[in-house]
């Protein structure tokens, strides 16, 4: 096997590290049980939402607040296909259909709205979450006469593996997308949309397809999450936190490097879970201050802090060398 080809692109080492990490993660349920597996499933869920958000909003610079809409659609598809009275389709099929349903909605919404720019796009995507929530709520009350839906419960390990599978698919897509012609085109759109259009990029197509692609992963994760929740109603499924948290996690980790959003999601989700269980009374208070501190003091996120430390160390080192000579 010709390794040098991969080496020259610099993906061999991170690839190997990733593979070892992945094997460790995938075999986790064999030596760790109970709460930890559940906690890591939660972290993976936030990881998927964050990376899928970064996939589109990172390079393009369009602030999308629609994550909760796509995630919620996935949750509802999961709940409809996997009721506690007996599942209608195999788990994996429900996950795929959840992803496809979200992707289709994103395709339609994207085609309609991606000509809006700046704050208008953010407001519109935020509105989308509420619109779907309210219409669904009305539908459940007046047409189907259900306040909420009970979903079948799935074994914790199974849920973990499903979430891990979606997570790996999301991360790999993100990794290869960034290097693809498509990813570079999206980056170009983010830097200067007119210039990108004039250099022959089909601006609308690139934006809409990436938007839809990012929604597929959020929807798939939603279908799995439905089995975790076991009882859902529109307010649970379309909670606005699922729109804001991925954005914050991405900023927290830093979007300058590929691994930034992943680390951000992992740390942030862990912090959130811990705060919620240990300080339920003042959880939102602490969380609010952490959010504000993040946007105030960590513009480039954890990655930025790490790079700053490395720069300082290097400069310190070279200064010593200079003093010697």
């Amino acid at each position: 096997m010709d390794v040098s080809r991969y080496k020259s692109k610099g993906i061999l080492i991170p690839g190997l590290i990733g593979l070892v990490f992945l094997i460790l993660l995938a075999t986790l349920p064999f030596y760790i049980t109970g709460y930890t597996v559940v906690l890591i499933t939660t972290i993976l869920m936030y990881g998927i939402l964050t990376v899928s958000w970064v996939l589109f909003s990172g390079p393009s610079g369009y602030l999308s607040l629609a994550s909760a809409a796509f995630f919620g659609v996935g949750i509802y598809v999961g709940a409809i296909l996997l009721p506690n009275t007996g599942q209608l389709v195999p788990l994996v099929v429900a996950v795929i259909l959840g992803g496809l349903a979200s992707g289709l909605i994103a395709l339609g919404v994207g085609a309609l709205t991606l000509r809006l720019r700046g704050i208008y796009f953010a407001i519109f995507t935020f509105g989308l979450v509420i619109l779907i929530l309210e219409v669904l709520n009305w539908w459940e009350h007046t047409v189907s006469h259900l306040r909420g839906r009970f979903v079948m419960s799935v074994d914790n390990d199974m849920m973990f593996w499903l979430m891990l599978g979606i997570f790996v698919a999301t991360a790999l897509t993100y990794f290869f997308f960034r290097r693809s012609k498509f990813g570079l085109a999206l980056q170009g759109i983010g830097q200067n949309e007119e210039a990108a259009a004039h250099s022959g990029v089909n601006v609308t197509m690139v934006k809409v397809l990436t938007f839809a692609l990012s929604a597929v992963f959020a929807g798939a994760a939603g279908a799995v999450w439905a089995t975790r929740l076991t009882y859902i109603d529109p307010y649970v499924a379309f909670h606005v936190n699922f729109s804001f948290l991925p954005v914050l996690m991405a900023i927290f980790g830093g979007m300058g490097q590929m691994y930034g959003p992943l680390i951000g999601a992992a740390l942030f989700a862990y912090l959130q879970e811990k705060l919620q269980t240990e300080f339920p009374e003042i959880y939102m208070l602490i969380f609010g201050f952490v959010l504000i501190a993040t946007v105030l003091f960590m513009r480039d996120g954890l990655v930025g802090v790490v790079e700053w430390v490395i720069r300082k160390l290097r400069r310190g080192g070279s200064a010593v060398q200079n003093a010697d000579t």
């Binding site: 700046g118 704050i119 208008y120 407001i123 509105g127 309210e134 009305w138 606005v240 609010g288």
Partner: protein, 292 residues
């Protein structure tokens, strides 16, 4: 009077009442977004906390809710001023461009939302609370309205108009409008731009608080009630044209009447109807009805 006329009158007055409140909320948000460039997701939380404040002042200290207006309003003005100086001004210093500031201020205001909601939860708990004030009926041409409804409508319109005149006529108002048009030139003309932006944010918070005091007379209070008002305010400021104060005032009344009509036929769909109109408008005319 025939039944149908009474129904129409009911919808109209209800719509104007709702619209008056909406107009106040939207004018506040419009000032915060149009001049200070902060899309304040926590706007509704100022409404909620002011409503709870009124509840406590009335039920514990026995202070008339209308007097609460002149207590809670100025306090919120100062708090808003300080929040801008300590948070959003710092953010604007660090942001490389206006878009980056818009994005980071949305996220920071989301943090603010969490903090205020948690404070309300600690202070008043998660249950619904309500009090009764001026609840006796008033007969207008055969239709009967609770007196507090009419008082709210009167105050909302009065304060809205006064606020508009303040912006149009007063010295600070002129400084605010010049800052909205061209911050750089305004600062060259001797306007202390940072102070003006902080005042705008404070005034916006004050308008939310005034709306909150009025709302508390009619609506059961709960720490989670703020978000829906934020949504509605966002819709109205887009409807009226981002940053246009008269647009927000008129847009508020329009949305109030539309909401009351939809509520008459299908109550649970009113928020969805707002959004539908809003999305339609964003697609057809993103500048808003009164936008330039």
């Amino acid at each position: 009077m025939p039944e149908s006329v009474v129904t129409i009158l009911n919808i109209l007055i209800g719509g104007l009442l709702l619209g008056g409140i909406y107009a106040l909320i939207a004018m506040g948000m419009s000032l915060q977004y149009g001049v200070a460039r902060v899309l304040n997701i926590a706007h509704g939380e100022f409404i909620m906390i002011a409503a709870f404040g009124t509840f406590s002042l009335y039920t514990v200290a026995g202070i008339n809710p209308l007097i609460c207006l002149v207590i809670i309003g100025p306090i919120t003005l100062i708090i808003g001023f300080l929040i801008h100086r300590s948070l959003f001004y710092q953010l604007s210093l660090k942001a490389p461009n206006p878009d980056a500031f818009a994005a980071s201020s949305i996220l920071a205001s989301f943090g603010l939302l969490f903090i205020i909601q948690n404070i309300a939860l600690m202070g008043w708990g998660a249950d619904y609370r309500a009090y009764s004030y001026l609840n006796e009926g008033v007969n207008i041409g055969g239709a009967i309205f609770p007196a507090n409804k009419l008082v709210i409508l009167g105050f909302a319109v009065g304060i809205g108009v006064a606020f508009y005149l303040f912006l149009a006529r007063s010295r600070i108002g002129k400084a605010i409008r010049s800052a909205a048009q061209d911050p750089q030139t305004a600062s060259l003309m001797g306007v202390n731009i940072n102070r003006v932006l902080a005042i705008c944010f404070g005034l916006g918070a004050m308008m939310a608080a005034i709306a909150g005091v009025l709302i508390s007379m009619r609506v059961p209070l709960n720490p989670a009630m703020g978000m829906q008002y934020t949504f509605i305010a966002i819709i109205i400021i887009v409807l009226g044209g981002l940053g246009s104060i008269p647009g927000s005032f008129i847009g508020g009344f329009m949305l109030g009447i539309i909401g009351e009509v939809v509520t008459h036929f299908e109550p649970s769909l009113s928020l969805a109807a707002y959004y539908f109109i809003f999305m339609l408008l964003l697609l057809i005319r993103p500048k808003g009805i009164f936008g330039k």
